[in-house]
């Protein structure tokens, strides 16, 4: 594994170890990641790509944070 990477979460630079999942970085920061259709806060739940509760916007596209490895310069939009 190479050294730490820096990603942008809601425009704010955040350092993370290379190779870890975006879901683990977001969850450690703040567990609420998105809102349900009814507007309730939701966060990482199954952690293995099945439940889609951790879907956030990564470089403009919806992705499951638990399956997405962090990359340098990745721009992530999640709940503030």
């Amino acid at each position: 594994m190479s050294g730490p990477v820096t990603l942008l979460i809601n425009g704010e630079p955040v350092a993370a170890a290379a190779g870890v999942s975006l879901g683990s970085v977001l969850h450690a920061r703040r567990p609420a990641l998105r809102t349900s259709p009814g507007g309730a806060p939701r966060g990482l739940y199954c952690g293995m790509g099945v439940c889609f509760e951790c879907v956030v916007t990564v470089d403009g596209r919806p992705e499951r944070a638990c399956l997405t490895p962090v990359r340098d310069g990745m721009a992530v939009e999640a709940l503030p």
Binding site: M1, A17, A18, G19, V20, S21, G23, S24, V25, H27, A28, R30, P31, A32, L33, S36, P37, G38, A40, P41, R42, G43, L44, Y45, C46, G47, M48, G49, V50, C51, F52, E53, V55, C66, L67, P69
Partner: protein, 478 residues
């Protein structure tokens, strides 16, 4: 959008213990084998590979065994397609998958479904609060990512996997605020080990790790509510009465909590096998709905479709590896490759029977508490994707819904991105209990295109590569 066509004798879907064993066995017979998995590293959940190379799990036996099994497959010439997710399949077989922006159409003579397991959740009040995670998710955070799920963690639910999660916390040097197990240890707890004394050391190791990491251990208790403003902050726990129901009048709060990990065991992932119309049966002891196979060959009732591991009923890694080997040999044979010596097969079948026997004895200690979903309040969420509450489900039943499928039509429960994988089992339990039906009569959600959300352009590109199944139909194309 790019798309690729891949052809092989045997396609193995899933690179966990069962899939890796199947792929190696089929390749040993000379079959051209492709092994596909959703994750970027082979190994599945059991052999999950840590992203952080210097963590406490890098040298763990489960990690090393998984790496060795994948390396062996590579050395044999198995072609891995990793980071790919199946979204559709056609009989005969063409399996369609998405790998990033790429669509894949994989043509295979035979298929081994080794699609593994997922949580079998029991909805409770507040289970949708951020910070409430599945027990498996907590383990993945710690083991694969070197992250702490929280600083003040309650681990709750039932079953042997909770002990494995507690051990993961212990190994990482993380404490647990409390450990809550539904079952009380009884005199029968030793029964599985009388016939399988080799597994006793493992059990003792797990219990020692639990004592080390969780100073507060509550047996015979259940979490009935997670509370908090925007995230979990407290957990309501109640002792369980003799009938298995939590005694609410004696409930108490565990406060100062920032993460609740809950697990009641697993269910087979059956979307691929049910999509291909294999027979499925219900058995609570095997995680509910599972794919039926001929135990001698692991073949389903669909010729050329084999299944192994958790897909055929929850039993853990040992039966998965053995069933995987049988499935791989069977799939190679069905694809026209030479038959291995019969002695090998007989020994593998005996070992599989023994491994299944231990899994069944262990499962008998932790009968699935499906009735707990009855504790959910009317405003409690059943389907997380579509925000469908228990009251919505009950209203649908009152209006005439008579099985899981009709409740879905009435309420949208199971129509969201997870396609009912998360709420399905609880929905089945609610419908069966309310109407006095068998689980078979309550039924389960059938898979639809696409099995998992996929960008339309990727799906289109992959499907365009399908070879026409009926030449006449191809001729009818404009």
């Amino acid at each position: 959008m790019s798309a690729s066509r891949i052809a092989c004798d045997v396609l193995v879907v899933g690179a966990g213990p069962a899939g890796l064993a199947a792929a190696a066995a089929a390749r040993e017979c000379g079959a051209d084998v492709v092994c596909l998995d959703l994750f970027a590293a082979a190994g599945g959940q059991y052999h999950m590979q840590p992203a952080v190379a210097d963590g406490p799990f890098a040298a763990a036996p489960q990690v090393a065994e998984g790496r060795a099994a994948a390396d062996r497959c590579r050395a044999l010439g198995v072609r891995f397609v990793l980071g790919a997710e199946v979204f559709w399949a056609e009989p005969g077989f063409t399996v369609f998958a998405r790998r990033g922006d790429e669509g894949l159409a994989i043509r295979a003579t035979t298929v081994v479904a080794a699609t593994g397991a997922m949580e079998r959740p029991i909805p409770f009040d507040g289970w949708t609060l951020p910070g409430v995670v599945a027990a498996g998710a907590a383990q993945r955070l710690v083991k694969a990512n070197g992250a702490a799920p929280g600083r003040k963690v309650v681990l709750a639910g039932s079953g042997p996997f909770l002990l494995a999660v507690a051990e993961t916390f212990a190994k990482a040097g993380l404490g647990l605020r409390a450990f809550v197990e539904l079952r009380r240890p009884g005199p029968g707890a030793l029964a599985p080990f009388l016939r399988h004394p080799g597994r006793l050391a493992e059990a003792a190791r797990l219990l020692a790790a639990l004592r080390r990491t969780a100073p507060v251990r509550l047996a015979g208790h259940a979490v009935i509510e997670a509370l908090g403003d925007g995230r979990v902050e407290a957990v309501r726990v109640a002792p369980v009465g003799p009938g298995g129901r939590p005694r609410r009048e004696r409930a108490f709060l565990i406060e100062d909590v920032d993460c609740l990990c809950v697990g009641y065991g697993f269910r087979p992932v059956i979307d691929l096998t049910s999509l291909l119309h294999a027979e499925h049966r219900f058995d609570d002891r095997l995680g509910g709905w599972h794919c039926a196979v001929d135990p001698a060959t692991q073949e389903t009732d669909v010729p050329g479709l084999f299944a192994a591991g958790e897909t055929t009923g929850i039993g853990g890694a040992a039966p998965a590896r053995l069933g995987g080997r049988l499935a791989g040999l069977g799939a190679a044979r069905a694809a026209g490759r030479p038959v291995p010596p019969a002695g090998d097969l007989a020994a593998t079948r005996r070992a599989l029977e023994k491994a299944r026997d231990f899994a069944a004895a262990l499962a008998a200690l932790y009968p699935f508490p499906g009735g707990l979903v009855g504790e959910l309040s009317p405003a409690g969420t059943v389907c997380r994707c579509e925000d469908v509450t228990r009251a919505d489900v009950e209203a649908a039943i009152a209006e005439g819904a008579r099985d899981v499928f009709s409740v879905k039509m009435w309420t949208r429960a199971g129509m969201g991105p997870c396609q009912g994988r998360v709420c399905g089992p609880a929905l089945g339990d609610l419908v069966a209990a309310r109407l006095g039906l068998s689980p078979e009569a309550a039924g389960y959600n059938r898979p639809h295109m696409p099995l998992r959300p996929v960008p339309l352009a990727v799906a289109e590109a992959a499907l365009a590569l399908a070879e026409p199944v009926h030449p006449a139909a191809a001729g009818a194309e404009p």
